[in-house]
Symmetry: C2
Subunit: 239 residues, 2 copies
Amino acid sequence: MKGLIGVLGGMGPAATADLFNKFITFSNARSDQQHIPLLISSIPDIPDRTAALMQSGRSPLPEMCDYLQRLEQAGAECIVIPCNTAHFWFKELRQSCHVELLNIVEATLEEVCASGQQQIGLLATDATLYMGLYQQAIEARGLCCIRPDKPGQEQVMASIYALKAGDAARARAMMEQQAAALFARGAQLIVLGCTEVPVILAEAMQAQPTRYIESTGALVRAGIRWYEQRVGRELLLTQ
Amino acid sequence: MKGLIGVLGGMGPAATADLFNKFITFSNARSDQQHIPLLISSIPDIPDRTAALMQSGRSPLPEMCDYLQRLEQAGAECIVIPCNTAHFWFKELRQSCHVELLNIVEATLEEVCASGQQQIGLLATDATLYMGLYQQAIEARGLCCIRPDKPGQEQVMASIYALKAGDAARARAMMEQQAAALFARGAQLIVLGCTEVPVILAEAMQAQPTRYIESTGALVRAGIRWYEQRVGRELLLTQ
């Protein structure tokens, strides 16, 4: 089927499932056959990205390249990676395959700029912060980036690992507290720069959708626009 | 990664996403790396299964075989198909690949027998009923199968197509009415013999989990048991 989008997922599986659900609900498909064709790799033995960057853990790159190539060989024409931290290796991943790779940070920043807000909160993993992925992109556009303080960031990480370990309620309580702290410090909106965070904050986002820009949703919208161009048909719901 | 399970999905995408979510939540995984490795094909241009069987539509078998073989080539060691109606072609699909295929009807019937109930309601597509997939299996075990009457079955089909077209609220109202009618006629539990139905009846099932046996969940539990045997590790949550 023309326009097959490959998903290099499993980092973690819950974030990959969230992306899959959003591809379904953000598309204005009226029958099975109108939905966007996806091939989703959720093979989770990829070494932990944060541990690789922050604690000299084993690099996830060999497994990521392996699964990326399987997607390409199976017919994917474009690849999305629902893991922000994995984007540290974006250049190497792009070089290891022959199809288009959409960048989650670029997709998210486009939506940040379109919002017109100036004070941008940021919830992301230690490794994503350490790489400066979002801070640099936000500040390069003349906007102000507000991050959690040190104890707050420890709570963010504990929340993310709680979700990965299946404790969604604990994850949610910790993350909601950190989001509230960023708003109290003047954030006009918060970028959810880790694909686990929209899963954790799903209810808060539903209650106040304009206060959050989440990287998974931005990547899905970019994927749907890529597909529309590829097949010459409009599908993306205007929300 | 050892034990890769391939998912021949896209029939429809919402049912495939439901299966993916259940693989995540039914597993007692404590980190990304402990989750079950999945490769999910959600390529939805497979011709409509019900239309093929009931209205002499084009057969879905060529596309199903194509996508099945892509999963096998990409390393899947076992395949699950989250679509009951597609199991009409189960024998041909099994012959077209070299890896194990788990059967959704067998997985569901195992759970029906374990329940000890005698009066079994059935919600499924016209085509699944026409094939007699579940009725024959239920009656062969000496149990009584209660199906919707003709106008009721028309509502079941309208509900399933409403979900496929994105109208979840309308789908739910219609399906809940048909479930209530089966209980009123003496059903002690209802088999959800179509993978769209657990998506539609998610809230009703959560409220009264022992009154429903759903084919997607049964298939996921069979898949997790297959994986546990393959890798020699216990993962399935006892619920």
